[in-house]
Amino acid sequence: MFGCGTFRHGLIRYLRGLGIKVSEEKSELQKVADVDVETDIRRAIEAILMVAIDPVSPGILAQLFELPVDEMERICDSMVDRYEEAELGFLLVRIGGGYRFQSNPEQAQWVERFVLEGQSRRLTAAAMETLAIVAYKQPISRAQVSAIRGVDVEGVMRNLQQRGLIDEVSRDVGPGNAVLYGTTQEFLERMGINSATDLPPLGEFVPSSEVVEALERSLRVVSDEVTIPSNEEG
């Protein structure tokens, strides 16, 4: 790639990034050239994202442009900001482990009228809770999810897998070699996040001490009281 046009400057930039001195002194012209390199890369990325069907990972871009991944991320992230500032009808976002163009949520009312087919069907509360468990506890076996939910989750997990929101990711090393599940890229896209680590920490959802106390109170065993059992309510 360094043979093609202004990208020669990319090499210089890259070498500099590795701490290799390329030029004693950075001339004004070189600074402009650097900007140009970025503009060229930016344009190429824009063109690629325009034809890509799924989010394009910084890794793939880094490979194409022969630049370090973190450099690629820096460029892309600055593009994300730039598109946001431009207040267009669409955005460039980092989602599902990559970058993509998508309509601006502010224009949802118009896009909705244009796209006859709605978004994917809404998940039931049961499916959502199961999904939350998998998302936070992954990799996790079906039996473990079951234990937390208190019911068999086979049907729900199968449904989530069919929708591409969760998938088998590995196998338990312990006896039984249970299949372990995790969330997919589709899940990240559905949640509008880049990676599962972007989810708000689970600790935020632990019930307050008042709630825990209320629960505890209601479960208190009163042992010194003798009551007559009745068969009506049992």
Partner: protein, 257 residues
Amino acid sequence: MGVTVTTPVYEGPFDLLLDLILREEVELYEVSLLTIVDAYLEELENMQEYDLELATEFLLIAAILVELKTRRLLPSGNKVDPDDEYGLWEERDLLLAKLVECKTFKEAASQLRMLSQQASLSWPRRAGLEDAFLSLTPDLLEGVTKEHLREACLKAMAPRPSIHVDIEHIAPIKATVVEAVKELLEEVPKTGMVSFKQLTKGLTDRIEIVVRFLAVLELYKLGVLEIDQIDSFGEISVSWCSDAELSDMDLLDIYEG
């Protein structure tokens, strides 16, 4: 008690417990199963379609409540086995931990729903390649056979597995009322007047005691046994009704029918 039950409550079995405890501020052990069942049946009638999953999960809730209630209902007096008491506390802590965990993921789920609602306001660009580039695309059918297609079709159209309720975490109830009735029918005519305490002497499991008590009530209802309790919370004495006319087998038939 006025427990109003709404369908979403039954999405998970611990949900109901949570909901009852938090919303109604009831003592779990005072929850009337009858009230819940009534409200639930009403809810089922109002439902457009019968939902097997909800129905079975409700049964699990009922089972958990029955178990908890039986523990609470038993006369423990002063002779509480320390081991048993300890076990009860342990179990309670376990239940508490489960309820807290359930509540945590319920909150997490509502957060996920908010995230997905926000994300659903954007549509991704999926226009794909322009015609000029199509000739460059790799051969997608490489290595794909008719059998692969068949498998993929079967996978896509497969019915979802039937839903069954996992009741492993409930202690298996070995005693049945029918068996207890049989035992009483053998025992009581021989012993004459006997206290309930004596009738349950050899039993260690609380649930067995409850079952035996239910059997006594059943036979009382059929007029085979007489029950007497002089003081409130006092000793219950059980005796064979001398003019009982039904044969043993008839009794069992009636009970089982």
